[in-house]
Symmetry: C2
Subunit: 258 residues, 2 copies
């Protein structure tokens, strides 16, 4: 790598989120930093992209080794627009977060934080998402610095294979010290929906989406187990959704014999 | 299965899309049908969910063996709300589409159609997404009926493993007859972004997201190859994103020795 690495930073909680500010501060120790983050919170947007509205960028800071922009789109939009219009190329590393809330287990599928990461990986850029298992605006991010730094340091030194990125989840404050870092697989699990049904002043029903995460896979090699047992979880992530194991069986369906 | 199967239908092009109407007509031959689809087009919403606004349902039809609702949310919202509030349980099968446009290769990651399908699979329901490789509003859906029907018939008879769903893509009209159905894996590929930069009347720049799909994996066992060669592609899909092959290497990083 020539000179200082160029690190691209995004998130899904928006440009003003405390977790983003922490991540920017940590990344500026490693290299030159360009931030393109949503101008408002985008939690739950998953890998959405904006195709019916135009996108806009607003430059919020520009100094030696540091540029910051907000964008009116999703995290995936921020990465696409950031690479093409701001960088006019690719960074050495993309980081996303630090998300306010866990993206372990199947939460990755709803996650804008991880969508930004996967968008980077699809472009061939080493990419890492960081999430803190604490939804509070006042979450204590102090313990996370050393874990974020050691993972970033290693990724910059060793790189990641094309198409592989990392989903890092950090235990939220629960009074106990974090034990260290574990390499994990994504835990199985599901959300048990539980809508809050209400009636508006005109008598029409409406529903707030709530739900409880149900962990159906509490083995010790999973990210969910790690988090619950005060370990930082690191899951290597890829985006081939094919269920390769089921292909042979599916071929036995003989769908062309009709 | 007792009596007629209960089939849940959703999509991401919205309640008025011609592709949805075709799918409803086809499904009513198989069993009782409940439709919950977005009240407006939701293409590109991926697996987004609505957490900051309440959701609403509007009943548009109710007769023996058939109910239809529109919802102000995303396809994933439609499935969550449809199962919990409308069905108060699970259907025997979920189908989504027929999408106007391909969801082959990495397009699955941006797809609201397939988000609805994966949401069903996460709830343990056999689920299939159908997409026609033709973006036109006037696309000819006539050739698709027999392929949709044979796949649905087989899925109802044989079931799908918990956590596995199907991504079916059908060639768009190109003057040649469809050759049949192929079981495939998801092709590698990426979008090459190419923003259309414009200036508004106040002199501020804005950007329209465009792009060209770049197929980097044109092997004959891929969905993209099948589509381009006039085959219906069927990819079995799962939602464990873990890159299991990289776990051993990642463990060698020794992230705890700092």
């Amino acid at each position: 790598m020539r000179g200082k690495p160029l690190i691209f930073v995004t998130n899904d909680d928006g440009i003003h989120a405390p977790g983003l500010r922490i991540l920017i501060r940590l990344m500026r120790k490693f290299g030159n930093v360009v931030v393109v983050a949503p101008d408002k919170p985008q939690s739950g947007t998953a890998h959405g992209i904006t195709v019916k509205e135009p996108l806009r960028l607003e430059q919020l800071a520009k100094e030696k080794g540091y540029e910051e922009y907000s964008c009116n789109g999703t995290p995936a939009d921020c990465v696409k627009l950031g690479f093409k219009i701001v960088l006019k190329g690719h960074p050495d590393l993309l980081v996303s977060g630090i998300n306010h809330g866990s993206n372990a287990s199947i939460n990755i599928i709803y996650s804008g934080t991880m969508a930004g990461v996967i968008e980077g990986a699809m472009a061939g850029v080493p990419a890492i998402g960081f999430s803190l298992d604490n939804y509070s605006k006042d979450a204590d991010f102090k313990p996370v610095g050393k874990f974020v730094s050691v993972i970033v340091q290693n990724a910059l030194e060793k790189g990641l294979p094309h198409g592989t990125c990392l989903n890092v989840n950090i235990p939220g404050e629960n009074g106990n010290a974090i034990k260290g870092i574990r390499i994990c697989r994504q835990a199985g699990g599901s959300w048990q929906e539980d809508f809050d049904e209400r009636t508006d002043p005109k008598g029409h029903k409406y529903y707030w989406l709530k739900g409880n995460f149900l962990n159906t896979d509490n083995k010790k090699d999973t990210d969910q187990w790690a988090l619950e047992n005060n370990w930082v979880s690191v899951v290597p992530v890829q985006f081939d959704f094919t269920d390769h194991h089921f292909i042979t069986e599916l071929k036995s369906w003989k769908l062309n014999e009709h």
